[in-house]
Symmetry: C3
Subunit: 302 residues, 3 copies
């Protein structure tokens, strides 16, 4: 039983649109990306679904990966019967009022722009009030791979994506504006076939930890999509050998215990796991850990 | 009608001192700066004036621009009939108890110090309780121009100043200490004759956007004067090509989507606007956008 | 009279274990560190003791200083009659479930790991719920001295440690999770014999300021142990000449007015004090200054 059913707006009541996979096709440096905006139940806690406003039925939305210099031809198909939605990729140069424009209910539109900078970028719906659209689930991560790679590419054994997001009272703009988050959660998105791909729900990375082997250097692409809180991202039991702020190879830091992520900020963090065991990932703002912000990496012998 | 009239302290009731322009004169590397502390109504929202404690009748106060290595001869004329005020420039080396000292009501005093470091620095009243003085409006920005410039000086087409500040319930130290901001706002200060110069009020940079041309590289001098909140400063539709943390040329970052500003922190951010349109500036802490933290840059064809 | 006596858990009532000095011995690059977990009254405000969960009877716990590359043999003697405790050093590589493991009441255990990275690192109890253990006082700082030093070592005249921590309602996990801090405080820990060594209590660095001479370049090892809040660390009356984020020589910034510390983050900040007088240290999040986050450096003539 959904506690918040009464808060669901009329046209969304009873709707639970099946997740639709992201479509992405490449033709040289032209990349064709198709996404949906849709209304889909996300089970933040067991038996406590949240009728999320989503991209493709996921919250955070599906991971998008392109190369530096690519031209993105982006199509948004708005399956929401009642509300316009839109797409703001932090990775691109585009006039927001034209290329991050609203797509009306049951319509679709296509926009073209370039990914000029490498890094780990947030994307989100930019329809007003933006806070409602992000906090209801319309956020995600786009990775732009650098043309010349990272100086530490050869050292990395495993790569994962970690996204931090907050949830508030159901579609409650006052709580989103003036309150504290009900949950703060981590999710992971598959970088390749076979990797886990989760929503931002409690325990998803506790019940099924990320995996590594003893001695692995692990790279995490981390993104704090908010909508409101900053993050102090930390992995227990190790130190970050290398950090690239917002994922840009030029912003290289060394030996960090914790990386400060502004809201919407990204980073690549790399670290070595020297012993078998369970390594928690947290934001070191521990009130947020108390609300769910923890995941695990399980390290086993070779 | 001023809602908060009852909260105004007795000696300030009925006072609304006309803004007095900053005076600044140069003699070689000696710079003579004269400012006032005064009580002036600031219309945070239409028809909702806030009887602000200000420098020169502006909140944030007037922009001060000097050169690295300058000696500043600073005079504060305290026009407040009842409360001492003072000046703490983050840009200088000075013994606070002597050179950031209180100036009594209806008195003036002069202090001398050097601006040894280039950058974007906060200034504020440092009279106890400092939180009241900052939150009631006594904050602003001093820019110290680097002797050797920035490596990107030649690329920049337009320059503006953006200041973020919060407002609380009128002169309510408990709300300032324990509450959330009522408004979070952006203002701009004129770097040169003819540029807009606004207070930190709702919609000032929505009603009258900053202006740029297609292809311009824009530089913003950004300063988060608080008093309490950090900022995740972001411009929609672009990526920051170059960022200088606290405005120091040595702290150069590249390709950022968002810059983390501690409370009182500054930055120079530079970005290219490739298409005609409207580009919002925000803190990506979207609860603060909901409370007003948004401004626009309008980009037109050549 | 302790206001919160009723909140103290049964087995802790009436207990006030005398502080026990940290033991640290070196044999080549093997360092033997012995600490206790114990229940000790900390007088946050005069006549308002807080029956803290501590390391060695201090909150923050005693400063630990080792060298880059050292092997740490760490023994935790748990003197708490009722609750397990543990130790998570941010400076080391260790499987958390094995080497940051719980030590049962009245037991002790020894763990071995290496300090591979130089810097200013947090340590804390990692026993669940971690938020309770940190917020009740189980946090501190470990400094790992770099094998090759800092480029500015020769310029530094005085060195001190500053730790920022928050206090909440006594052992109230709901207030720790959903509330705002009751106090935000600074403490210092002795780097050498004769330096002050304080708990995180109100006014400790106001009543007895740190000392320096005119012209001194002062280095502070700063650590924000939270548990929840970020810090905007600033010293009034000067500018940071040099900053090393998390204390790593590779993360060198220049000319900062304020350094952004994530929760658990560290930094080395160095600055010159050019005139006699009193220089306040604050987090520029001034609601936290209002709750106690201020200390002083007193500068006298040679
Ligand atoms: Cu939407
Ligand atoms: Cu004042
Ligand atoms: Cu200040
Ligand atoms: Cu955005
Ligand atoms: Cu403990
Ligand atoms: Cu930790
Ligand atoms: Na809430
Ligand atoms: Na760690
Ligand atoms: Na408020
Ligand atoms: Na952007
Ligand atoms: Na509280
Ligand atoms: Na200062
Ligand atoms: Zn939307
Ligand atoms: Zn919060
Ligand atoms: Zn490591
Ligand atoms: Zn004042
Ligand atoms: Zn807040
Ligand atoms: Zn760009
Ligand atoms: Zn503990
Ligand atoms: Zn807070
Ligand atoms: Zn200096």
């Amino acid at each position: 039983a959904e506690e918040s059913e009464s808060e669901v707006i009329k046209p969304h009541q009873g709707i639970n649109q099946e997740p639709i996979p992201l479509q992405i096709k490449r033709d040289g440096t032209d990349v064709y990306v198709e996404m949906t905006s849709q209304i889909t139940d996300i089970e933040i806690q067991k038996d406590k679904p949240y009728k999320a406003w989503t991209f493709n039925g996921e919250a955070p939305g599906p991971l998008v990966v392109v190369n530096e210099g690519d031209t993105i031809h982006f199509t948004l198909k708005n399956m929401d019967p009642s509300i316009p939605h839109s797409m703001d990729f932090h990775a691109v140069h585009a006039a927001p009022n034209k290329k991050f424009a609203d797509v009306m209910p049951n319509e679709e539109d296509t926009f073209t722009y370039q990914a000029s900078y490498p890094g780990v970028f947030m994307y989100h719906c930019g329809t007003a009030p933006v806070l409602s659209h992000i906090a209801n689930g319309m956020h995600g991560t786009i990775i732009v791979k650098p043309a010349d790679g990272y100086p530490t590419d050869n050292e990395v054994d495993k790569e994962y994506v970690i996204i931090q997001n907050e949830w508030y009272k159901y579609n409650d703009l006052d709580d989103m504006t003036n309150g504290e988050p009900s949950q703060v959660v981590f999710s992971t998105k598959a970088l390749e076939q076979g990797q886990p791909n989760t929503n931002g729900v409690l325990n998803s990375l506790k019940d099924e930890p990320l995996l590594a082997k003893v001695g692995d250097k692990v790279r995490l692409y981390v993104n704090n999509v908010g909508p409101n809180e900053v993050s102090s991202f930390h992995v227990v039991g190790t130190v970050f050998d290398d950090v690239y702020i917002d994922g840009n190879p030029a912003n290289h830091m060394k030996g960090l215990q914790t990386v400060m992520l502004p809201t919407s900020g990204g980073a690549i963090v790399e670290f070595t796991l020297k012993e078998e065991g369970m390594y928690p990932m947290v934001t070191h703002q521990f009130n947020h850990v108390q609300k769910g912000a923890v995941g695990f990496i399980k390290v086993t012998a070779d």
